[in-house]
């Protein structure tokens, strides 16, 4: 295809387009609209002229009163609704607060009871441990005392056994020491001398 042919095709297409536009959007249809706009303009002009007569002071006052009544009515209704709503809310809030406080208090009481139980258990454990320790200490002390007593008793018995003769002698001396007559002992003294006679004679004969 040559350039000229291409240009010719474009021109044809543009021409077709213009024809189509002209067909569907003809320029003569604007004429009634223009007439209507004039009437409207006249009407608007009348309204502007008479509007000041319609909305005069009485009308405005009436409108204000109506508005005021309407506003008061709306305010009253809203106030009532608000009051009801407020009462309901207050009641619900009260219930909620009561329930919440009760729940909190219950929780706190439970915690408190738990804490008291724990403290009681700890105290009981502590007392039990102390009692056990005291019991053990007492048993140890008892054992020590028993051992000490047994040792002491054993020592006293040993001491008594070892010094029995001296103890009995001391007892006799304290009890009847001053009442024993030498004359009554003479027989026993002579018997002892007789028994050791040879040893005495020997020592006298061999004495320095």
């Amino acid at each position: 295809m040559t350039l000229w042919e291409l240009i010719a095709a474009v021109v044809v297409i543009i021409g077709l387009g213009i024809v189509t536009i002209m067909v569907f959007f003809p320029r003569g249809s604007k004429k009634p609209k223009t007439l209507k706009g004039a009437a409207q303009q006249n009407l608007d002009q009348d309204v502007e002229e008479n509007i000041l007569h319609i909305f005069d002071d009485r009308y405005r006052e009436e409108l204000k009163n109506r508005g005021r009544l309407q506003f008061q009515q709306i305010i009253s209704q809203n106030t009532m609704f608000l009051q009801q709503d407020l009462r309901l809310t207050a009641s619900e809030l009260n219930e909620y607060v009561k329930a919440e406080i009760s729940r909190k208090l219950q929780d706190e009481f439970k915690k408190y009871d738990q804490a008291i139980d724990d403290a009681k258990n700890i105290a009981m454990d502590s007392i039990e441990r102390i009692n056990k320790a005291i019991e053990q200490g007492r048993q140890i002390l008892d054992q020590q005392i028993e051992k000490e007593l047994a040792d002491s008793k054993q020592r006293i018995i040993k001491h008594f056994e070892a010094n029995m003769a001296e103890i009995v002698n001391h007892y006799i001396l304290t009890a009847v020491g001053g009442q024993i007559d030498l004359n009554s002992q003479l027989e026993f003294i002579l018997a002892d001398l007789e028994a050791n006679k040879s040893a005495i004679i020997e020592d006298i004969n061999n004495g320095a």
């Binding site: 056994e161 029995m164 003769a165 001296e166 009995v168 002698n169 001391h170 006799i172 001396l173 020491g177 001053g178 024993i180 030498l182 004359n183 002992q185 003479l186 026993f188 003294i189 002579l190 002892d192 001398l193 007789e194 050791n196 006679k197 040893a199 005495i200 004679i201 020592d203 006298i204 061999n206 004495g207 320095a208």
Partner: protein, 171 residues
């Protein structure tokens, strides 16, 4: 009671002369008599004299041995005997819990002189802790005849008796 006279003429101690202190006293008395007699020989006539006093012990000694101390031989013999006693007589010490009576001492010395030695002298001591019995001390030895010693020697019997008595008291 006195010892029988010696057949050989040897002097004897009367039982009243018990201790070395008695012998010492007799020695002094005999010496006093000897001095008196020596002075009496030198005495001029008409001069007053003080006769020496003789104690009971000397009297017993003279009577037992039938001595006449005015006789020089007897006096000399007595002094020699007492000097010998003072120097060589064996002595023992016996301790008692209380002071013994003279009767007790007399009985004891009789036994000692008859059984141990005829010239034995006795020294008496005091041991208040003895209670019963005595302690005899010779030259080198000590014989404990006290109750304490007897109890120690018969410890088993004492122990048995004591614990039997304790057991009876408990039941």
């Amino acid at each position: 009671m006195e010892p029988s006279s010696d057949k050989n003429g040897a002097l004897q101690l009367p039982y009243s002369i018990v201790s070395p202190a008695n012998v010492n006293r007799l020695v002094r008395e005999l010496e006093t008599i000897d001095n008196f007699l020596s002075q009496a020989a030198l005495r001029q006539g008409g001069t007053p004299v003080n006769l020496p006093r003789s104690g009971q012990l000397l009297t017993d000694f003279i009577n037992l041995n039938k001595l006449n101390l005015l006789q020089k031989d007897d006096l000399k013999k007595a002094r020699a005997f007492m000097a010998g006693m003072q120097k060589y007589a064996p002595a023992i010490t016996i301790s008692f819990s209380v002071e013994p009576t003279s009767v007790f001492i007399n009985k004891l010395i009789i036994w000692l002189r008859q059984n141990i030695h005829p010239a034995l002298l006795l020294k008496v001591g005091l041991e208040p802790n003895l209670v019963v019995g005595c302690i005899v001390r010779t030259t080198n030895k000590q014989f404990d005849f006290s109750l304490k010693k007897h109890l120690s020697q018969h410890r088993d019997v004492l122990y048995k008796l004591l614990f039997e008595t304790t057991a009876e008291a408990k039941t």
